[in-house]
Subunit: 505 residues, 2 copies
């Protein structure tokens, strides 16, 4: 193993290459892995599941909302008639805009437009220096700074990992304040329980100089709602859904349908269940507030049937992501997917599993790519190096989504004539006036020849990523914030801490 | 960097997971990155290049063949009228079968059917133990044994690297004998010059108990013809093309159009030139022997404009591969693409660049994925670990190409009812009778949790790949060969060595 990754720290040569922050749009038709008949069959089966089996809804107010809209409620089981479901889907907006406190970072979702969100929710942090560990608030702030620095990331994903040095009942307040003040990008809120969700809404309102009521027709926050698959919506998630939808904020309803564990072992069956659970959640959002923006979340993956371990970035995942996109388009709801891997190291496996999920999501027509950068260990850990690796792969995807220009000058017949057989294009006028912007410039990839690469330390992609995030963190400058808003946020956090924060769920 | 790849050799737990050898078919529509108008514009521009500028053809007999078919020849420049080109395309078969000496390894190409070929042509070999180096014949035989062992590889790709311990003028004879005797899969021949190509045809004929004439309506060999971009066909390649086409064997005409170097800096311009050069080569095959199988080769990539270094697996590469597939379908010719990377280590970069090219090729509708496994360093080096990494990614692609089954039992409504809200699917009858074959089983991916992974040595994907190829080599058994054929091959090689082999080009 004489050619192992370099022992010495990697150097980052010159300025880091990053295209400017920009909206990404998909110019190509999505890949369809299901026939129209099969899409309809899965949709119809999901409607039967909701009509004949139903969802268990553990939150009484949510059950009452559903009953009031025409659902049949028996104890905690809620059955939804197909006509009720289809009627409620009519008010879902096909596209919407999310506002950021820096308005040049506003985001469009729907149609061709999509966004990349950084990892949200892991328990642990890791980097190549210290491995996996409980994270601190200071480390979380470092992570947020790198997310702010990476132009390809459109949205912060809800707190990259738990800052375990902060008390659990008030931790979310410090996280929100960091998300608002360290970034000027749009951010996701936590949605576990009424109190945490309302704190997110309150602080988002403060950051924009308004009140929670003032946000009602102004989407600025996005929250993820996971059903407890199979077929269950628990109290904290129902509270989060109702609070966000009630304030006109965006939900992504995402069943966690791991085929062979919390969902049928067949992909079609797992998709039926995903579709049923997503439909139930989407219907509830539209009952709470007709017209509130909502996304259809697809997260179907599979377990490793030899061990029962969750598997991600599998061929099944890619197919399920593209099938989920078809199901979301079938019901006219924007689609959320993710960039996932089960790998333990930021190595080739992490890259190829993420690529399988990226292509599944991007060519599946995703509008929100959640956990787009930083996700490791099946979602248990946020990695600093994976954040850079993913930013590289996302920027490549964005460049892939720039269509080939085919204007007459692009066809280059004159340049071909000028160079002639056996010639070289480098010095031609056609090349010289285009070469600086002709091709995507990578952040992470190394294109040295092998001799040069050995000479400069045989640094692998993971070690280069380590140097890059450190340089980005060092180069970070905090985006400006009106001091009166900063003070109001501080006051809110202080008051809520005094009140004891949020109850533990 | 405390979590670096393990220092101790990786263990391979239990039997290696490999699906059986099987034909791969693409069930989904290809991705179209160009509009129909743009495809037509590039095609028309390429026809103008051939009509107005022409190709330099350095081989006089090839020029005479083209002149005889109606081309305008002035010195070494050959101009082709659009009508002549379009007329000659009519005889290209849209699909064909390649015969292997083990007939269960016969291969279909065209329509939905595609094949994966192992890396061919690099100068060097590398592995994690000894790094990059000149390779020996013994090492080349080891490489071929692993290619034979990997069920996902359909075709041997023409000799994985140069055995530098053998004399250059007779090396190809030892390579052919190794390709024939160590594998029972179909194999690619060398096509550089008349003598080398004829030796391939003669030895292929011997291996099947026939003569070169007996192969004429029986495709068993495939040779790659690279034009010397821009717009040039040299003597050795023209000789190879004429010899193979003359014996009814399969050609892949592949311009090496690196945008910004040997082709225009615009992708559209590089595609115009690629299309022109490919058309010229394809026309020549059909003049030599109307109806001979031929593939349209797309290899357009770009240079790194900061350094001039070739770049592979870029966003531009993925777009160009899918555009090339459209151009090939536009003229009704099967399509060849490749799995490429510029990475120096078998790390995340190698994986994501290969994935970009894989998705470009596979969803671009490639029928031959050349260099599908083992290619490193922009094609200069064949890697043992990359061979395993690529086999993993190819098997995932093949599994992605198994469409989702949507029969009534797959929808699993009864299983969903049986398990009910909050339950678990693992023990159900629906799961138990399907779980063993429900999901693709990886060869390389590790799905241990982080603790287990650390405990068992923190082995990265590259180190696992190292253990896997060694186990495959150890498990290798030579496929049977009729002793009289082995003797005839030996006699042929001995005679040709005595004659001095092939002249050096």
């Amino acid at each position: 193993m004489s050619r192992r990754p370099g022992r010495r720290p990697a150097r980052v040569a010159g300025e880091l290459a990053q295209p400017a922050f920009r909206q990404v749009s998909r110019p190509y038709a999505p890949v369809e892995v299901l026939s129209a008949d099969h899409v309809a069959a899965i949709h119809e089966a999901a409607l039967s599941v909701l009509a004949e089996i139903g969802m268990r809804v553990l939150h009484a107010p949510a059950r009452e909302l559903l009953r009031g809209a025409g659902a049949t409620v028996l104890e905690d089981m809620v059955r939804l008639d197909p006509a009720l479901v289809m009627e409620r889907l009519k008010t879902v907006p096909p596209s919407f805009t999310l506002e950021a406190r820096n308005r040049t970072h506003d985001l469009k979702l729907g149609g061709r437009d999509l966004i990349f969100a950084s990892v949200g929710g892991p328990a642990y942090v890791m980097d190549a220096d210290k491995g996996k560990r409980d994270g601190t608030f200071a480390e979380m702030c470092d992570y947020l700074k790198v997310v702010q620095q990476l132009n390809v990331l459109h949205q912060e994903g809800g707190g990259p990992f738990e800052p375990m040095d902060l008390p659990a009942n008030t931790r979310h307040l410090d996280m929100y304040r960091a998300q608002i003040t360290l970034l000027d990008k749009n951010w996701q809120t936590q949605s576990l329980g009424h109190a945490r969700t309302m704190d997110g809404i309150e602080m988002a309102a403060i950051s924009l100089g308004t009140t929670p009521e003032g946000l009602c027709n102004r989407p600025v926050l996005l929250g993820i709602i996971n059903t407890n698959s199979p077929l269950q919506l628990d109290v904290p998630m129902a509270e989060g859904l109702i609070a966000l939808a009630g304030h006109g904020q965006v939900l992504a309803i995402t069943p966690f349908t791991l085929a062979g564990a919390m969902a049928p072992v067949t992909l079609a069956g797992a998709l039926v269940q995903q579709h049923a659970e997503a439909l139930a959640g989407i219907v509830l959002t539209q009952i709470v507030r007709p017209g509130v923006p909502v996304l259809y979340g697809g997260f179907t993956s599979n377990v490793d049937m030899r061990t029962g371990a969750p598997a991600f970035g599998t061929p099944e995942y890619a197919k399920a992501a593209q099938a989920s996109g078809q199901l979301a388009r079938h019901i006219g709801v924007p689609f959320r997917s993710s960039n996932v891997t089960a790998a333990n190291a930021v190595d080739a496996q992490a890259a190829y599993e993420s690529q399988m999920s990226l292509w599944g999501a991007m060519m599946g027509g995703a509008h929100l790519l959640n956990h787009a950068a930083g996700w490791m260990h099946g979602g248990l850990t946020a990695s600093f190096e994976k954040l850079i690796l993913d930013a590289e792969m996302l920027a490549m995807m964005a460049a892939y989504f720039d269509p080939i220009a085919v204007e007459p000058a692009d066809l280059a017949i004159d340049a071909i004539r000028e160079v002639g057989p056996g010639g070289h294009f480098f010095g031609t006028a056609h090349t010289m006036c285009r070469y600086e912007t002709a091709f995507h410039i990578p952040l992470l990839a190394n294109r040295d020849n092998y001799g040069q690469w050995l000479e400069s330390g045989a640094v692998t992609a993971e070690a280069r990523a380590n140097a890059i995030w450190k340089q980005l963190r060092a180069d970070y400058e905090q985006p400006p914030l009106d001091p009166s808003i900063a003070e109001a946020l501080d006051a809110y956090v202080a008051r809520r801490k005094q009140e004891g924060g949020a109850p533990m769920n």
